[in-house]
Subunit: 205 residues, 2 copies
């Protein structure tokens, strides 16, 4: 543990560390999103990142912690993307719902690794499951909030709102899972369409 640092190949110690961390995260996303959670082992991640295990422990305590960071990274991207999309959407309920759902689905299907990491594989490991739930719940909350502000009131008394939102978002997740696993004949556009309609139907009462 050198108390004094120094540049190397034109990069400061912090830059190098950050770069290594990024490479580990990228390798982690790659493996989690293609080989799956089970095969996203520490050895495999280091090998793909072309880094020694020592550098793994420099940035992460354990394999699970890195996977958490990977999922969190995707979740952050989902959050910012969806929020940005919603803000630029017109004030019409149907259009607004479609924009939000579209941003969600598009991001996770455009790069299937991200979709698998955030939706499929995050449901596999016990450690990741809470994050997945949080991600879905966050998106659901956004939908509910939008719906309330547009329709003017809460549709149901709690916790029915939470339940309904999760019921909807879970369905979306299932469709994404099926799409990512080639288990369904549908395009992302189909999924967006179905989701938008179902949401409208659920709110229109």
């Amino acid at each position: 543990m050198p108390s004094t640092t120094r540049p190397y190949r034109g990069l400061s110690a912090e830059q190098r560390k950050a770069q290594r961390r990024a490479r580990l995260l990228e390798a982690g996303l790659d493996l989690l999103g293609t080989a799956g959670c089970e095969r996203a082992t520490m050895t495999a991640i280091c090998s793909r990142a072309k880094l020694t295990e020592r550098y793994f422990y420099e940035s992460f305590r354990s394999r699970e912690q890195l996977l958490l960071a990977v999922v969190d990274q995707v979740a952050d991207e989902v959050r910012s993307t969806v929020l940005a999309a919603v803000e630029t959407a017109p004030d019409e309920p149907h259009a607004r719902a479609r924009v939000a759902i579209s941003a969600f689905v598009d991001l996770l299907t455009a790069d299937p690794r991200k979709g698998r990491a955030a939706i499929v594989e995050s449901a596999a490991a016990e450690t990741l499951r809470p994050r997945r739930h949080e991600l879905l719940r966050e998106f659901a909350d956004l939908i509910v909030t939008q719906a309330r502000s547009l329709y003017g009131t809460a549709a149901h008394a709690p916790p029915r709102d939470e339940i309904n939102a999760l019921l909807f978002v879970g369905g979306l997740a299932e469709l994404l899972t099926a799409w990512l696993g080639n288990e369904i004949v549908a395009t992302p556009a189909d999924i967006i369409e179905a989701g938008t309609e179902q949401l409208a139907a659920a709110l229109h009462r």
Copy 2:
């Protein structure tokens, strides 16, 4: 491999083999439904069933095959339970939907091991995922069929029906997952209620 068999402890060779197989399945369900897919290892299953690995290979080729059998067993139970429930239900759409959903949710929450095995852990392993999808799809098909026969026609052109059904069933699965993981404040009754309403809303157009 004895070509000649003989009774032991009052049981024939086939009876003993079937008994061992049942014990392995029970141990598998227990581990899959509590410890999780990752910890449902062959050694652990044999240990819990109090059988040697030799007897494992007598009935199953691999760990994954046993887990498949466990999930299939639960899926079979779901199928027969739901079908039986639907047949004894009145011919009214809303009631019929409620009965089907109720049978589904009740079975998987009454014995959380079954719920976890069929819904949660079956989404974890690559090998089990197709079975989970099949189970959900089967239930979805049942819903669609019921809806068609009761409302008289297909609501949408394919594959939109399939998409909508999966969207609904996936939501149910998500709610069950959340309930099984104590991630939601809701009773099975709440889930059934929400599911029934959403289904009605989705069909009523």
